[in-house]
Symmetry: C2
Subunit: 594 residues, 2 copies
Amino acid sequence: MDFISREDLSFLLHDWLNVSALTEREAFGEHSRDTFDAVLDLAADLARDTFAPHYKSADANEPRLVDGKVETLPAIAEALATYAEMGFFASSFPEEVGGMQLPSVVSSAAFAHFCAANLATAAYPMLTAGNARVLVEFGNQAQIDTWAKPQVEGRYFGTMCLSEPQAGSSLADIRTKAVPEGSDDFGDRYRIKGNKMWISGGDQQISENIVHLVLSKAPDENGVQQPGIKGISLFVVPKILPDGTRNDVAVAGLNHKMGYRGTVNCLLNFGEGEGAIGWRIGQPGQGLALMFQMMNEARIMVGLGAAAMAYRGFTQSLEYARERPQGRPLGQKDPNSPMTAIVEHADVKRMVLSQKAIAEGAMALVLYSASLVDEIKTGADAATRARAEALLGLLTPITKSWPSEFGLVANDHAIQIHGGYGYTREYDVEQIYRDNRLNPIHEGTYGIQGMDFLGRKVMGDKGAALAILGEEIAKTTARAAAVPALAKMAADLTGYFNDGCAAITELQGRADPARLMDNAGQALSAFGHIVTAWLWLEQALTAHDLDDSRARLRDGKLATCRFFFEVELPKVSHQLHLLRSANDAAAAVSSDLF
Amino acid sequence: MDFISREDLSFLLHDWLNVSALTEREAFGEHSRDTFDAVLDLAADLARDTFAPHYKSADANEPRLVDGKVETLPAIAEALATYAEMGFFASSFPEEVGGMQLPSVVSSAAFAHFCAANLATAAYPMLTAGNARVLVEFGNQAQIDTWAKPQVEGRYFGTMCLSEPQAGSSLADIRTKAVPEGSDDFGDRYRIKGNKMWISGGDQQISENIVHLVLSKAPDENGVQQPGIKGISLFVVPKILPDGTRNDVAVAGLNHKMGYRGTVNCLLNFGEGEGAIGWRIGQPGQGLALMFQMMNEARIMVGLGAAAMAYRGFTQSLEYARERPQGRPLGQKDPNSPMTAIVEHADVKRMVLSQKAIAEGAMALVLYSASLVDEIKTGADAATRARAEALLGLLTPITKSWPSEFGLVANDHAIQIHGGYGYTREYDVEQIYRDNRLNPIHEGTYGIQGMDFLGRKVMGDKGAALAILGEEIAKTTARAAAVPALAKMAADLTGYFNDGCAAITELQGRADPARLMDNAGQALSAFGHIVTAWLWLEQALTAHDLDDSRARLRDGKLATCRFFFEVELPKVSHQLHLLRSANDAAAAVSSDLF
């Protein structure tokens, strides 16, 4: 079974986003609709045949630390070998480093199949691609040749090493230190000492080498250690050094997680001996800026993973609901009449449709964001590219958080539809929930995303990016206003978006600057719903034009759009009220009173 | 550490519910405030010392089926032996069967400590008490002496056997059959054959015997098998027969759960051989009615367990938030300034206060319901008792569901506050979530509770019970209207309650009868919030009168009440709108379109 509907992905990519038009651009000129579709089909097949089969066993047999080495389930390595063999590590990379140079929107859609089939196994290539892209964009040629290209081939895997036990979200407080040790063929060389926490893929025996990207305090050009984030640089620290010897990097312990268990997660000690050898990427003090290239990609990928998990739960609980007979329609009093499938019960319908709205809405959101990545790279002119960049910046915290937050709501419904069976490990849905629960935490918690959205992305540029979003929404509502079935939704969306903008303006006029972020989470959640509603209206517009040969898809999209607008979107009103009024019902309470 | 604040329980029981007044009633005349407090303190100590220590190990070492017998962690048996020794199995039973004859509200508060410390271990006495109460109320003397009294002593444990693999919520469709076999000292005897699913405590080696209460189809007085639920009777089926031989009951398999793992959960086969021997309780055809005595108690106990889990997550995440330094106040740009405890961050405050509102609100709801049980049994006159019975009937689906639904919201916050640590099994909060996730499923799913609330409890008596609730709320709002700090909340609550009643009336005027239950879940959730807001206003009124020696408790209650009214209660508006308008955005969609 496909956990993500190929028909729906085709609708999103071709009917809605018209990805074939990208092949008219030079960067994607080697491709065609056929090559896109071939990649998508191959991904779906491979995900089903190699990633899905060890979903449960990788959960039951989590990574173990044996004699200082991490052992993972062999099926994970086997699946990733096939993934590498088929070239998927290379899918989104430029040809000059051995990549397939696919548009981001296509490679993301392909990757969604792998995330849905086995999120924990998919995390290895997700991290590897992000790591290699930092090296390709900011590393010197030797660094690219030595550590990026083998990742594009899938021979080396990558990690990102930011957090420390005492510094999670607060990177200014990291203690890892890098001491300069001259330079060599690979750039400026350092000795690094420190402890890094929450390192996914931090050790394993799957890949030939592991490429760690490490944030560390380091002196500037003048030998001075700058305070806070200005004093942080980025280093490439391979597990195996170019001369074939082991670097001074050791696994200090494994974290035993609620879910996502196939992805090993470690505490790593850098420099228990003389110091791990690392080479600086970019300039001193640029560490956080460079790492955020990887982080921003990772945040979109977190959204993709969460959307994929929502989709899988939807697909599996729908299948269960269609097959499980239980009870009878309201008013049918004859106990000898046949039972109906539970999908016909109103409460189950509500939970199925809610999942469909979340899963397909989140997938649309993530793919739209991925299409902005392509626009930033290959847009027609500088203005177009700058506009896409501003919009993606604004949407990144939403793309990370909305699927993470509501994907769990969807997964909760998937469990509930299964009843007692959904609570057992004999079925998949409880694991889907557990796997997905990481997504609101890693790569910046929900609270961090809220402050990024409201503080940096909305207020930071005085609403410029928000204005661009407004223009894009207005294009959609103008088209929808001309379609009788969609006109009311268009008006509603305009109203909610304008309310959201007004709420932010009122907040800025009302609140003490130190208290502007008190309801940042409400802003993130409200605009997440508004953006998702917008993309549902986009889907409805596209679906509306489909002919009767695709009536099931068309009418399903229209019904789900209506559901989202009537049942979900109005929740925004109360959130915006809290935001607008600078509600301090929580923030004003002294913590002594808890 | 106490997972539930003794200070808060004392506030709820003494300051608010004034339980000492119960000792003026004949039934509780042997007790005093001192004996109540001694029981509560003993429960808190015992829960901490014997239930809490094996919380994690019972999760990691779940029950196993070895040679047809179920093995559980020895620490569970040890804890329950101490629990029995201290008389807790007997706490809520009348003296004539060896009970302590405590008020339900006091024994429930004591039991909350055990649920918080280890919900899965607490499930054994919870089921045992419910089972014994059915026997005490409906069994004959021989049945009481043989199977109820040893449960009151904690020597035998009890189960409830309702569901079958093909019949979960739909009990009319059970297939288990009982064939009459004359009568003996224990009553009318039958041979029973069938398979029962989801049997918590279905087998174990902890107790001397296991008393199964089994729903089964059985012929009526005239030997005719009535169709549907009219043909169902209730049977007591002991694992070990009175003559010391094994009954024909076998474990067919264990369910491996997401959480709640210390409670063994089985598929039981009754009558693989000649048929299990069982004795009928009550009259033929009364099965469901009698079992619902146990079920109604179990539903309140589910709410209690969910409230206790919410409370534990609140307590533990608050402790973590107070101790974990991370980041700095907004506007503090000096990276060398000390980090603040995360409890000071606005987003963490919101999650802590939300948990406090849910945990203490749910505990108030459950204890209020338990106080109605006492009122039904010992109220001054028949009218008082009938009124309490109607009110408890109305509140039971809310008491079961609201703590279950929002306890998970609270637990989700508890994980989020812990960040990455909260996602690991090294901390407790992910397990608390997993344990608690069962509560919206068992003893009637959320969807079933919604239909029970709106269909049976509100519409079934033409609003009579709802009117009683309205009168009780009006008493509270009249008092609160006289307190300036609470007057606006009183007006808000009145408004929401009236809106809720009006929504139901409008729905009945508008909707096709077959579609009346389409938004039953919205009704349940909305009235859950309204009832919880009412009980928060009750708590605020009580707290408002406390003097400065209890300022921390007083001001914390007032702040949390304000939070609930400003942040939570307004969500009801949209739910009532969906209800009132008979929204069919989900129900009208053909399931083919999913």
